[in-house]
């Protein structure tokens, strides 16, 4: 079985929004998971409301199209969450879910993922000076058995991990009790050094950010300080490397590139499939069923022949441009405050340009202004919590399917009484002449070529040229008429 290294980036960002945005953008190709302590919590936007003319305020933290955010949902500004986990969208196959049923606290994130038959937990912790997080962890220790990694800002100094500090802390006992119960072991830095830097002379630099990993794991990981990525925070980010079994991760999809030679051949062969259809032989429902089955098999073969595998990558097109990269590199080289300001202003300009172009496209080329509504209304974030059904979390797939099926079929076996409209008059019979070509042309003209195809992989984009072919259209109309005429 192959090993796959999960790379976790962990940093206390000190509520800095630009820093968080930058981490999300720059780590999208290198990291799989990001642990953020003290994430920013700000007014994202005002969303249209039916009670407030100015719109209801929506508070939240930084987001990015390449990452799924796992965070406690806090509606107002008070008591914002102090930890957030971002999971790279490439890892969606591992079915990550925020386990609020295990711990629901703003200082701790417990996220589960499924690999092969196992469910594993990872925990992101921010422990404040009162060590609330440690108390919560201790109280819920029984729920956290399958933890393979716990990291974060623990705010505890101890000679065990900080050579510049000569004392033992009482809180260490608490922490070690928790990690021992979870069978986790303190991971040693490959490049030892302090993780938090201070500007004044009264305090000294310290090691506060810790990583605990499962030593039983055959691929016990390691972690490294990345001082070159520290940026304005006083905490140095940690890069944690931990192994999991590889399968399930790589995602490949079959696709046909737009306007390519393959697409051209694909459409030509679709037309040929229709023309091969012998409608004379269809005299009853059964014959119709077998003919359309054959047609769909032929389409499937055509798809398999012309489509090519495409890897889902972490790259996507957004506002970040070369100038942002250059100014960030300039800042990293010199650590000059002015460079940071230039970087921030470049980000602002890049974003504005990106969105202005989008607005122009929507207003002038597409003429679909309602597409802009997505920008003002509350964005539907992906489901990050486990589905619960009848009070229990659905952690296994069969229980999830059962929960979904029961919810959408609750009306099965519900009696109905058609006698209620017995006294209504029956309308005159409606004529149903055979379908015309114009009806089909009108219907397809309004279909968006961008819409997702059905299970046959044929999109409107492919079907439009097929319908313009007279012979193919006649076959489609024959199928439609046969559907109405013959009882299947």
């Amino acid at each position: 079985m192959n090993k796959h290294n999960l790379v976790v980036f962990s940093q206390n960002v000190r509520k800095n929004k630009t820093l968080t945005d930058t981490i999300l953008e720059t780590q999208k190709t290198t990291a799989d998971i990001i642990f953020v302590q003290e994430p920013p919590h700000f007014l994202v936007k005002r969303i249209p409301s039916h009670t407030n003319p100015d719109g209801d305020p929506l508070y939240g933290t930084s987001n990015h199209p390449d990452w799924t955010l796992f965070i406690l949902n806090v509606p107002g500004l008070k008591n914002p969450p102090r930890v957030a986990i971002y999971i790279n969208k490439c890892l969606a196959k591992l079915r990550f879910s925020l386990r609020l049923d295990l711990i629901n606290h703003r200082n701790i994130n417990v996220v589960a993922f499924h690999n092969h038959q196992d469910t594993n937990l990872i925990i992101n912790v921010y422990s404040d000076s009162n060590q609330t997080a440690l108390q919560v962890l201790r109280d819920n220790i029984r729920n956290l058995e399958r933890t393979i990694a716990m990291a974060g800002d623990f705010n505890i100094r101890d000679s065990d991990w900080d050579p510049s500090y000569y004392y033992h802390s009482n809180q260490t006992e608490d922490l070690l009790f928790i990690t021992d119960s979870l069978n986790l072991k303190l991971s040693q830095l490959t490049n030892p050094g302090p993780t938090r830097f201070v500007n004044n002379h009264r305090e000294s630099n310290s090691v506060l950010d810790l990583v605990f990993l499962a030593p039983d794991d055959p691929w016990f990981g390691q972690h490294t300080l990345a001082p070159e990525l520290q940026k304005p925070s006083d905490h140095i980010p940690l890069i944690i490397c931990m192994g999991i079994r590889k399968e399930n991760i790589v995602s490949v999809v079959q696709s046909i590139k737009k306007d390519s030679e393959e697409e051209h051949d694909f459409i030509a062969e679709l037309k040929a499939n229709f023309k091969l259809l012998n409608m004379q032989s269809i005299t009853d429902g059964q014959a119709l069923q077998s003919s359309v089955n054959q047609l769909s098999l032929a389409h499937e073969r055509t798809w398999a022949k012309h489509s090519k595998p495409k890897h889902i990558t972490r790259y996507s097109k957004e506002w970040w441009n070369q100038e942002c990269t250059d100014s960030l590199n300039a800042y990293r080289a010199g650590r000059d405050l002015m460079d940071w300001k230039t970087f921030k202003s470049n980000i602002r300009i890049a974003k504005r340009k990106f969105f202005d172009d989008k607005i122009y496209e929507i207003a002038s080329s597409n003429k679909r202004p309602w597409d802009l509504m997505n920008w003002v209304k509350k964005k539907a974030l992906p489901a990050i919590e486990t589905i619960t059904h009848e009070g229990r979390p659905c952690n296994s797939l069969p229980s999830l399917w059962n929960a979904l099926h029961c919810s959408y079929n609750s009306a099965a076996n519900r009696p109905v009484n058609t006698a209620i409209f017995n006294d209504l008059p029956r309308n005159d019979s409606i004529d149903w002449p055979p379908f015309s070509k114009q009806e089909f042309r009108d219907a397809i003209a309004k279909c968006s070529s961008l819409s997702t195809p059905g299970p046959d992989h044929i999109s409107w984009r492919h079907l439009k040229p097929v319908v313009t072919d007279n012979e193919c259209l006649e076959r489609i109309i024959d199928i439609a008429n046969a559907c109405i005429t013959y009882k299947t």
Partner: protein
């Protein structure tokens, strides 16, 4: 919560095209032969939610001139599309004047269906689905309108034929509805609304639909 999600139909594109043509025809016939009630505003071409808004604003303003208050109950049906019953639908289509061919087509279209759920790239085995109409299909708007039409008609007949006729109106928008009453006193309109709310709840139950009572809301429009 599973309720926060809804299953949608994904059909082969050629099937979708045929559905679109059939549903355009149904839209035309159902409107032109008057089977759909004028107060049904959802799922029907050329009728919009804006019509409902205009109707209500007009109603409220006209009431003020007559020194009347307008009171409404807004209600919502739980799991509307997955609850539509095929036997009931078939009876509605027959009332609408659709020929046996067409009702047979829909019976066969809905019979023997199965659903596969997909979650984060994982797919379930197929589950038999004996009830409901697929959401997101070209048929779902017009089917919902055909299903609701006889319910609205019967409701209107019932409130008109009570020992004392209830002066009341109803608006229907797919799975939402609005009962509108206009009286000089709140007591009277509240009584009318309560009575008609019970009638519609019972009628929906006969059609296999369940009113989501905790979502029902009463609004009184007064002039400040």
């Amino acid at each position: 919560m599973p309720k926060s999600f809804r299953p949608i139909v994904l059909l082969n594109t050629i099937g979708k095209l045929i559905e679109k043509v059939i549903s355009t025809r149904l839209q035309f016939h159902m409107t032109s032969n008057g089977f759909l009630d004028p107060n049904q505003l959802g799922g029907i071409k050329q009728r919009l939610m804006i019509d409902a808004g205009l109707y209500l604003t007009h109603c409220v303003c006209a009431g003020w001139l007559k020194q009347c208050h307008t009171s409404v109950i807004a209600f919502d049906m739980a799991q509307f599309f997955p609850s539509l019953n095929h036997v009931f639908l078939s009876a509605c289509m027959e009332k609408a004047g659709l020929s046996r061919n067409i009702t047979n087509f829909f019976n066969s279209y809905h019979a023997g269906r199965s659903t596969t759920y997909t979650w984060n790239g994982f797919s379930s085995p197929p589950f038999n689905t004996s009830i409901g109409v697929g959401q997101g299909s070209a048929f779902s708007p017009i089917i919902s309108a055909i299903y609701m039409a006889p319910i609205i008609r019967t409701f209107k007949n019932r409130v008109n034929n009570l020992w004392e006729k209830i002066p009341l109106d109803i608006l229907s928008f797919v799975d939402d509805g609005l009962l509108v009453s206009q009286e000089k006193s709140y007591e009277l309109s509240s009584a009318y609304l309560l009575c008609s709310y019970n009638i519609i709840t019972k009628l929906l139950l006969d059609a296999g639909l369940v009113m989501e009572h905790n979502k029902s809301e009463v609004f009184h429009f007064t002039r400040s």
